[in-house]
Symmetry: C2
Subunit: 466 residues, 2 copies
Amino acid sequence: SESFREISPADFFYRNRDLAGFNNPTRSMYSAIRELVENSLDACELYRIPPKIYVRLSYEENYEKRNVYRLKVADNGSGIPPEYIPSAFGQILYGSKYKLRQVRGTFGLGGKMAILYGQITTHSSAYIISSVGNNKIYEFEIRIDIQKNRPEILKKKFRSNRRKWHGTVVEFSLEGDYPKAMPKVLEYLRQTAMVNPYADITFVDPRGRLYMFEGVTKKMPKPPSEIEPHPYGCDVEIFMRMIDDSRSKSLQDFMTTHFHRVGKKTAKRFLKHVGISGRKNPKKLTPNEIVQLVQSMKPESFKYFLPPDANCLSPLSNELLEMGLQKDLNPEFVATEQRNPSAYSGYPFIVEIGIAYGGNTPNSPGITLYRFANKIPLLYDEASDVSRKVINNEINWNYYKVTQGTPVAVVVHICSTKVPYKTVGKEFIADRPEIEREIKNGINNVARRLSRYLSKKISIAYQKQR
Amino acid sequence: SESFREISPADFFYRNRDLAGFNNPTRSMYSAIRELVENSLDACELYRIPPKIYVRLSYEENYEKRNVYRLKVADNGSGIPPEYIPSAFGQILYGSKYKLRQVRGTFGLGGKMAILYGQITTHSSAYIISSVGNNKIYEFEIRIDIQKNRPEILKKKFRSNRRKWHGTVVEFSLEGDYPKAMPKVLEYLRQTAMVNPYADITFVDPRGRLYMFEGVTKKMPKPPSEIEPHPYGCDVEIFMRMIDDSRSKSLQDFMTTHFHRVGKKTAKRFLKHVGISGRKNPKKLTPNEIVQLVQSMKPESFKYFLPPDANCLSPLSNELLEMGLQKDLNPEFVATEQRNPSAYSGYPFIVEIGIAYGGNTPNSPGITLYRFANKIPLLYDEASDVSRKVINNEINWNYYKVTQGTPVAVVVHICSTKVPYKTVGKEFIADRPEIEREIKNGINNVARRLSRYLSKKISIAYQKQR
Ligand SMILES: Nc1ncnc2c1ncn2[C@@H]1O[C@H](COP(=O)(O)OP(=O)(O)OP(=O)(O)O)[C@@H](O)[C@H]1O
Ligand SMILES: Nc1ncnc2c1ncn2[C@@H]1O[C@H](COP(=O)(O)OP(=O)(O)OP(=O)(O)O)[C@@H](O)[C@H]1O
Ligand SMILES: [Mg+2]
Ligand SMILES: [Mg+2]
């Protein structure tokens, strides 16, 4: 008969690491760097520390074949308390980002996948140095026990932190292919610096070349804040967990305490609509009543819940988007639009669109597209992304005087408490109808402004000819 | 400071269920049905039982709003021993398919995701009835404890199995949208029946309509077989696990025992190339020696390993592909090709291509594409799939006299011990270069045959005109 077994989450993501972006040495090198840089940016932003991130990639000394590298990423972020370091870097599905808040990390496995990939290709361990800025700096050498999904601590020590440094250093060896990975790695760092203009990013490549992406401002955006779940995203599991954690003695109080933007009046109106008394003790609800409540928390059943408050989000801003496009493409024309906040399934999001024409804008056939999500550049799988779908199928470019040869670039940034990535590798975004609609309307608006510029340009050229 | 926590695999796939194809009621209904049907087909094929699968979808009685359904899938497969039933249906990352063998299931979570989705949308439990054909039929009522990733057994009983029935019945309630899901559900069942012509599939829809997809043959293909890992797919983790499990006293014996198609001569030659004695005890290898061995198990380091033996695979066959296209499209012309076995990263695979022209072939702009992997129809995310990429970007269709208006359909089937899906939802396939090449060459070959037919047709029409 068949042999049944369980596997650990680490074993699952080890066997299926291509789902997380670790499918060949070139792509894995890119993924390892991006996962560590995104962790560093999160660690700085959450405490409003202007990020100083140092990335060094060098050839590993012991190998005559030059396909094994040493990767080191250092930041001046929050640091990690020593009791959490082993699991933070050695246990898959462990982290501090399992909250409803806009942040780059979301799955609790990115940094671990990088370390795991290094471990299975070079049989070596990872070094973590970190301090939260108190009087100790901790150093760990760890391996991941993949079958048990837990860290093996090979070494642990600490030294005094006289200068009260705070931050984290992650270092390990991995197989890779820098000549092939280089264009994507440099593009990733360049675009990251562009949408995080308060960050200093330094990169030393295996040939010793130094790339400095210097911050252009010290001003940090206010950190994104956590919000409660919204009724429109509710299901039975969330509801049951809220009941378990709740100290509310009445359903009325339960609704206003645990849900985002549900005030007394809305809660009263909702409970009247469902037909359950607001005085009922939530812990005494029957299964049928629970289903009734959850089923009614849908826009088609009850449309009076206020939309999610996007104040918790941290968008780029029109100025920043424009500045980034100017700096990068030196275009003849730029237009940007920050769409009004919207929501899908109760998750607030903001779409920001930019369009550039002329100057150094690439003249490739078709529109050049730059994609960002929660300030992360997305460089792979463009063909599958919702933005590319909108640009190719839902915009009438000819109507805006944009034809095959017109040098046009579009930037799309989506920020949300939950970006609907389609893969664990965070490379492209699902075509949620609400998001698709905002991207489409935003692109139409900036394209309309471009078309006015192009019309003026054509008529001026025409006048000159006469 | 930040609050660190771990989450269970069930919690991870609950929070990120859109990764697994459960992102809205329409898609979730489709995913639930396909995951259960694929489990049933695997359970029958592995024991060479001609599958009889019964799918019933009905409106759940207690709900006046008609968006809650009852789904029941029954098969005559192997059944599941009672000691494994709770975990098989209640623990994510648990199953019997964690082997190197061609089978539909691969992740150990499909059936559980369907049950989980039902549970969080209707607050009800799942019923499992199963017998392996002995004297007992077991009945379980289970829920999934998502935070702990384990089944809760609400009820367990058994009755005598006088007729020695073997098989499994899975039944639960779930939210869905049958009017929207119906086209995809019917298409899935139809295409499944087409590539599994030995299967009887019966579907009763919520309106009581009966769809019967009757098998056209009783002849079952031989079941796919399990193979050892191939050296070209080896990494340090696999190697270390082999060493742990091994009873080999010498490296020479270790290589021939644990790796696929490594005979004495090849093992000797390989160990000589690496420079490690064949007599060395594998359990006494140094870390450096392990890395040396693993790094040398690459095609670019040692090219004398025999390619994987595709006898373990179970392709459709040209006859079946042709029969399916004839039955479905009644075309004027059909050509099929089964490519020679190939491999990517040590995983053997076979690509099978079919092309159809005319008759009832859809006349949509562009080539109609039907995709299958391990005999599973893939109906979503076509734009992201490697086959669509090849068809749109790598075939010069005009050269084969296929233009915008020509009614042409292409079928691509890939079977492998490991299909490189890009998502946990198993809807599209990554563009591994080896696979991309086989698809491209196969399509060029059948397109060439079509072009000869079209030339003849054009010349006959021309002759007639004169
Ligand atoms: N450089 C760093 N500074 C501070 N904390 C860090 C750093 N790197 C990792 N961490 C901590 O380790 C945790 C795990 O990181 P990991 O990348 O594995 O998952 P994540 O960032 O939470 O989610 P994702 O998988 O989406 O990246 C983080 O949640 C964070 O708390
Ligand atoms: N109808 C069935 N008959 C026999 N065994 C079954 C049936 N359905 C499920 N199982 C058993 O339960 C296990 C878990 O099924 P599940 O669908 O969750 O995962 P899987 O099929 O192994 O992988 P995947 O996630 O890719 O579907 C299977 O491996 C199989 O052993
Ligand atoms: Mg991370
Ligand atoms: Mg399955």
